[in-house]
């Protein structure tokens, strides 16, 4: 058990950094503008991240699993560590980074190291989703902006009551955003450990069963929650007041748009529903919550007439699609080599 936890530590670290950074995407404006207290945000975020991870986390993990099935714990540890190191290094270098892109790069590094070959179909699906997710988020934000504007112009809402309603909506959107963050991004944190998981299915009080994968996701969810409580406040304040200034209503639209996108790329139930009605479905892929948020902000900017949009940020996002997986793959490859040859561990 101790060895298992030791090997899981790299994934837990990745989870912690996800909680510290990505929770700010969901709650940044709400907390940064004092619409929601940090304590309330952290509690709601933690609960819903864990719920999202346990209930809806398996879909995106499945796609990652297709990209590379890492069957040994030392291998999974090294891949998660490589992703975590990439995130850390790129954050230090102030480069845009996404946990989703880092873990995919690290898995590709493992593919190359183990000689298993890259599943191009899965890779194409993942890369396409990365490009599509911020565009989709921008589209949702654009449409939602006009829907909200339509209602605000027709309903007489006193400013003070509007403030109260916006707080409630921000809390609800934050809870939904946290759920989708857990559902979509838990695959980044714990996905690589699934094939080598030692957890057995358990029954809780005879009421419901928790599979081994769900237990793994619950642990990952707790790591994300710890990240939220210990380190996200500072990032939230930065997101809320420095990077982009949104008013509380537009912040709600951005968070909702991004959450819908993350949900579309995470929910197996929604995918089944769309398929059963012969509608186009979305691949279940871990996408970047940060880039979805940026997409949402751009959508709002476009809805307001396209002025003051910093288009250079799009260049930075595109660079992230290439740079992050590349750096992560290189670190993963080197780390696997070291772990196998210096520490004599079986990594593939």
């Amino acid at each position: 058990m101790l060895a298992t936890l030791l090997f899981l530590s790299s994934g837990l670290f990745l989870g912690w950094s996800l909680g510290a950074n990505d929770a700010a995407n969901v709650w940044g404006t709400a907390v940064g503008t004092n619409m929601v207290k940090f304590k309330s945000a952290a509690i709601v975020c933690s609960i819903f991240v864990i719920l999202g991870a346990i209930i809806s986390g398996s879909g995106a993990s499945h796609t990652l699993g297709k990209l590379g099935t890492i069957s040994t714990l030392p291998g999974a540890f090294t891949v998660a560590l490589a992703a975590a190191l990439s995130v850390y290094m790129m954050t230090k270098a102030a480069l845009p980074v996404s946990t989703s892109q880092a873990i995919v790069g690290a898995i590709i590094g493992w593919n190359l190291f183990s000689g298993t070959g890259v599943n191009m179909q899965s890779l194409t699906k993942i890369l396409g989703s990365w490009v599509f997710s911020p565009i989709l988020s921008a589209g949702f934000a654009f449409v939602l902006y006009f829907v909200v504007k339509f209602f605000l112009r027709r309903i007489r809402f006193h400013l003070i009551r509007l403030d109260f309603t916006t707080r409630f909506l921000l809390l609800a959107a934050g809870a939904f955003g946290s759920y989708t963050l857990g559902a979509n991004n838990i695959a980044n944190v714990m996905g690589v450990f699934i094939p080598s998981s030692v957890f057995q299915d358990i029954s809780i009080g005879g009421l419901f069963n928790l599979s081994g994968v769900q237990q793994l996701f619950a642990i990952g969810g707790v790591a994300i929650a710890v990240g939220v409580f210990t380190y996200s406040k500072r990032v939230m304040m930065t997101v809320g007041s420095e990077i982009y200034r949104l008013n509380p209503i537009t912040a709600f639209i951005v968070v909702l748009s991004s959450s819908i996108v993350l949900f579309l790329f995470a929910s197996q139930g929604l995918k089944d529903l769309l398929v059963s009605h012969n509608l186009p479905s979305f691949p279940l892929v871990p996408v970047s919550s940060s880039q979805s948020i940026v997409g949402g902000v751009i959508g709002i900017g476009l809805a307001k007439g396209g002025k003051n949009i910093n288009f250079s940020i799009l260049g930075r996002i595109s660079m992230g699609w290439i740079m992050t997986p590349l750096i992560s793959a290189i670190i993963s490859f080197i780390s696997l080599f070291i772990v196998q040859n210096v520490f004599s561990q079986i990594v593939s």
Partner: protein, 216 residues
């Protein structure tokens, strides 16, 4: 959440009460001046004490609104604007009180040939305030309507200016006033009464900017 909702409703009620006080004080101002111009001093004094009571009540309302907005961190993005608006609106009620106090101390003699102009001036000034209040309500509920509503404020402020100039011109050109000090006294009170419309316009100018900021 429930306590914030209760407080939000409380602030809404306080803001509405505050606006009603301003409307009422403006009406009392007009009535009181008419009483004074017609020499009914007792009724004028009654209006004066009613305005003083309203001014004091409005000060407490203003303090309550300010305190609740800050202590409960309500409307973070518009709090500064709302407080700025409340503060400048409070100046309107302050002016009515100050003018009445000065009149009751200095007791200016309004000669018959100037009385109608003074009545026109006070009516225009009060109308500017009465047209301002619906625009303030719109700021809270329908910001897109603010600009249209404020057109009337600018119109009545202009009317007040015209009446003020007319009074000054007559006061300094008429031979019915012999002493220069009395001419100056007429000018002084015309300016004081006109200040009400000026202040209404000052609030209107702020409100125009606040409404643009609130436009979604």
């Amino acid at each position: 959440m429930i306590s914030i909702f209760k407080k939000a409703k409380g602030i809404e009620a306080n803001i509405e009460k505050f606006l009603k006080n301003i409307e009422l004080s403006a009406s009392l101002f007009e009535q009181g001046l008419k009483e004074y111009f017609n020499g009914r001093m007792e009724q004028f004094d009654d209006r004066c004490s009613q305005i003083q009571k309203l001014e004091s009540e409005s000060d407490s309302l203003r303090f309550d609104i300010k305190f609740t907005l800050y202590s409960d961190l309500l409307i973070p993005d518009a709090r500064g604007d709302v407080l700025g608006l409340i503060e400048t609106l409070d100046n309107v009620i302050d002016i009515t009180e100050k003018v009445f106090i000065q009149i009751s101390i200095e007791k200016p003699v309004i000669l018959p040939f100037l009385r109608d102009d003074f009545i026109s001036l006070s009516e225009a000034s009060v109308k500017a305030v009465h047209k301002l209040i619906p625009a303030v309500r719109a700021f809270f509920e329908k910001p897109q309507n603010v600009t249209d509503l404020l057109t009337q404020v600018h119109f009545w402020e202009h009317e007040a200016d015209t009446a003020e100039i007319r009074i000054k011109t007559k006061a300094f050109n008429s031979e019915e006033i012999e002493q220069f000090s009395r001419r100056v006294h007429m000018r002084y009170f015309a300016e004081k009464i006109s200040m009400l419309a000026d202040e209404a316009e000052a609030v209107a100018e702020r409100l125009e900017v606040y409404a643009i900021k609130r436009a979604f």
